[in-house]
Symmetry: D2
Amino acid sequence: MRVGFVGLGNMGAPMVANLLKAGLTVNVFDINPAAVAAAVAGGAVAAGSAKDVAAQSELVMTALPSPRLVKQVYLAQDGILAGAGKDTVLVDCSTIDPHTARELVDAAAARGLKMADAPISGGSMGAKAATLTFMVGADADLFAQIEPVLKTMGKNVIHCGEPGSGQVVKICNNLLLAISMTGTSEVMALGVRLGVDPKVLAGAINVSSGRCFSSDTMNPWPGVSPDAPASHGYAPGGTAEIMLKDVNLAVDAAREVKQPVILGAVSQQLYQMLIARGWGDKDLSAIIQLYRDQ
Amino acid sequence: MRVGFVGLGNMGAPMVANLLKAGLTVNVFDINPAAVAAAVAGGAVAAGSAKDVAAQSELVMTALPSPRLVKQVYLAQDGILAGAGKDTVLVDCSTIDPHTARELVDAAAARGLKMADAPISGGSMGAKAATLTFMVGADADLFAQIEPVLKTMGKNVIHCGEPGSGQVVKICNNLLLAISMTGTSEVMALGVRLGVDPKVLAGAINVSSGRCFSSDTMNPWPGVSPDAPASHGYAPGGTAEIMLKDVNLAVDAAREVKQPVILGAVSQQLYQMLIARGWGDKDLSAIIQLYRDQ
Amino acid sequence: MRVGFVGLGNMGAPMVANLLKAGLTVNVFDINPAAVAAAVAGGAVAAGSAKDVAAQSELVMTALPSPRLVKQVYLAQDGILAGAGKDTVLVDCSTIDPHTARELVDAAAARGLKMADAPISGGSMGAKAATLTFMVGADADLFAQIEPVLKTMGKNVIHCGEPGSGQVVKICNNLLLAISMTGTSEVMALGVRLGVDPKVLAGAINVSSGRCFSSDTMNPWPGVSPDAPASHGYAPGGTAEIMLKDVNLAVDAAREVKQPVILGAVSQQLYQMLIARGWGDKDLSAIIQLYRDQ
Amino acid sequence: MRVGFVGLGNMGAPMVANLLKAGLTVNVFDINPAAVAAAVAGGAVAAGSAKDVAAQSELVMTALPSPRLVKQVYLAQDGILAGAGKDTVLVDCSTIDPHTARELVDAAAARGLKMADAPISGGSMGAKAATLTFMVGADADLFAQIEPVLKTMGKNVIHCGEPGSGQVVKICNNLLLAISMTGTSEVMALGVRLGVDPKVLAGAINVSSGRCFSSDTMNPWPGVSPDAPASHGYAPGGTAEIMLKDVNLAVDAAREVKQPVILGAVSQQLYQMLIARGWGDKDLSAIIQLYRDQ
């Protein structure tokens, strides 16, 4: 199968490597020539534009950093919709707002094309290790068609429902991550301040009702999870900047449907405070600094 | 071994049953004669006062609903310290503030007595099934001495450190539970409002970074966790009232050491709002009503 | 002086009436023919488009409900910039984000035109009574030129600084209003619940350090401020919907510069909760319902 | 009239000076002999205990820093209730929780004595200048009796209702102050960050709907209110520590009646964060540092 890939950043580049490893032909494009050159060195085929990628591929994937860029790459004159043949299927792996995701699916449908939203979690480490989770919004046929390709890059490929629902699930999950990470930071800082050893505290929580991914896998207190960013100077991982970007998407989506997200909004502001203090490029677990740097 | 037990409520009564099942002699006292009669019917021995319980036992346990009652039962003229012989050890299983816990340990030490704080999680269901978690603050010798007895009533017996640290761990865990449950309620309500099936949403979160006890075991959306209170009309489980009581202990302990707990304080107020609306005797997962009853 | 006015809604219509009362010629346009007819009946001159309004006027004003509409009315082919002669000055009275406001000022400058942002407070009552406050972002010359015209419609015409700063001041003021109104609602509900008469409580606060516009002029407890919406079934005044729209603008502007607004974000969510419960078209002081309807 | 005064701290000492200036005889006691000596040097008469003060006075006042001390000074064996004759009236000016205030009134009533709670606002500057505000909880007769004496020390003497209601009004006012000050800090920091001059911003807010004591009298941005602590290195005024103490009283009183105070609780935690960073002895307006020190 000929796969196209537009967006060869921290996520896209290793995903392409895994597609190639699976024996697929991969046509690539990126505005950064160095990123294209690196992919070609790994076996990919360079195309001159997103439109050309689409023209040469049966399945086109994108992994881009903002809704604006996603719209541009799909809708521009030299964009994907302009080049895609009638049986080409489209999969956007960017994390964007559900509203834009559905707009793009509609724009594709207007040209007779099928499109899925399939945002990913797992970070660049997961992308390299082919252990990503894909949260897929697509009709059942399209899901069946793209699942095997996504499996070459990820461990979990979850069908979340109709187009747009992949984005909804992604932003809900990440909003809960932000809340849990902030909450875990509060109680770790509190417990240590009250005299308990951080490993003992986390250990007890992890077999009790406070247990969460942020306590048992990515604990924000240094040394508790040996492989977590907190134990390595908060080197990311997923940065606080990206966490905030996802929380903003969730809070904005909530706004559109007038659904209150109170803890979510407080976490949003606390991440904003953290970034204002210069911690934006550190791991999201660095939010604990707000409770410690006193 | 002769064990004493003061406080035969929802937790104490089934704990006594498990002690008896393990073949131990259990001397009991409660201000409620019916509770004593029930325990005696099960094989326990009635004592006339907390002091008498202590005088007849090598290990004395208590499970009481408030710091005030705990102080009274230990420190009154007919209380436990007045009756305990010099080798009797004391274990308080109530959830109280760390400050009072340490005061009592000191009062016991002043009489040459060893005391542990060992608050429990797992609810009355866990008490019946002998699957409780004990979070124990005690010196190493005392912990070694009481661990086998606690094992007859629970699955996890965790040594949290010096006296008082059991309470610290308990309130930290429960504060994080309150935050996670509130956060899970926000994202479940949001995702469903944005058109995703609640089971699919929870399923995806539960293999991703938002995963927590409140999403994967006690999900607040009806029908997602079949055995959870949310799937049974929010019949408790642990009530919202008790959740608030524990959150209050945590927020107050944070206040004493000037440690901010921002999400914790917002959760506290939201539980207060829930209770003000008449949901206090429902399960703590009913907090999702604040995001749904519109 | 020939004045143009685009946007004849709740605010624009009475503002036009006051311009006419001051003896000015007023050219008007609105997409709603009935609104145009009403203005013409009052003495205004109908124009065929925003472009025509601009072509016939020395000063063009706009009062529109969203950034999207403002951009369209200024930038479309039949919009204001297309029609304005080289000495025409432009004044936008809409409340929009500072970013869009500055974009429009730049677009006007690119055609050699001077433009001010002059958002208003005071509501439709203030518009009728000519007691509005204008918060004006403009260079000093432009401010001097437009001030006399604005004075025909308002009591306070405040020069806030360079273009864009009128919007900044407006959204800062309204964010603080949202916070104060929510805070006043919390303490009024608390004090009454603790047994104090609401008028006595407000009276004491109003001569003390808690005093604010929301306590002394627009108190949310019914009967305390006889003329306030709370004393008339929460008939607006300024609706909760519009309050939320302004708070959203402020929180978004804060996001762009990574400035945390924690109480602001919580108020935002509480207004969202209020609106989700069906109170969106009531006065903003109805936020107290969240603390009372139990 | 013979007046007694127990508690000669920052507030009590200048209040005694004003009582003496009004020509009254003042019997004083404090555990700090230096404070007593200073009062005697000013014309007061030293007594050996709180009981002695009460025995020699027709009206006894207290100004103490905590509920615990207030209870002790009234209820101890050598306390006020033990010494007061049957026509002596009692006035406590300390800020304490309404619950304790009502307990003391009941204890006094049990001995046939009338007691009022009359917490004050205005700070030590107001105490010196005799411009304090007294918020008085007392029955109508008692209020009429004590009002003239309080007028010698303050400008506003407000009758808030039955005993206990003075405390309720005081903590409600101070909770709203904490919220307003935090909110004003958020919008001042935001507006300046968005490019507006702080004096212009405050000036516009102060004639608009965001106006409050914290914006127009004690603005937290340096230089805006020339006489405010912010313009003098945040030298107090009222310290952040005392602000937090009062907020704690309010949040605790809300807890007792299950009344949510969401913004109040967030402000509480933010003051806790400020104090944890070492700003506890600065003026309460220093809360703006959380939004600036980045």
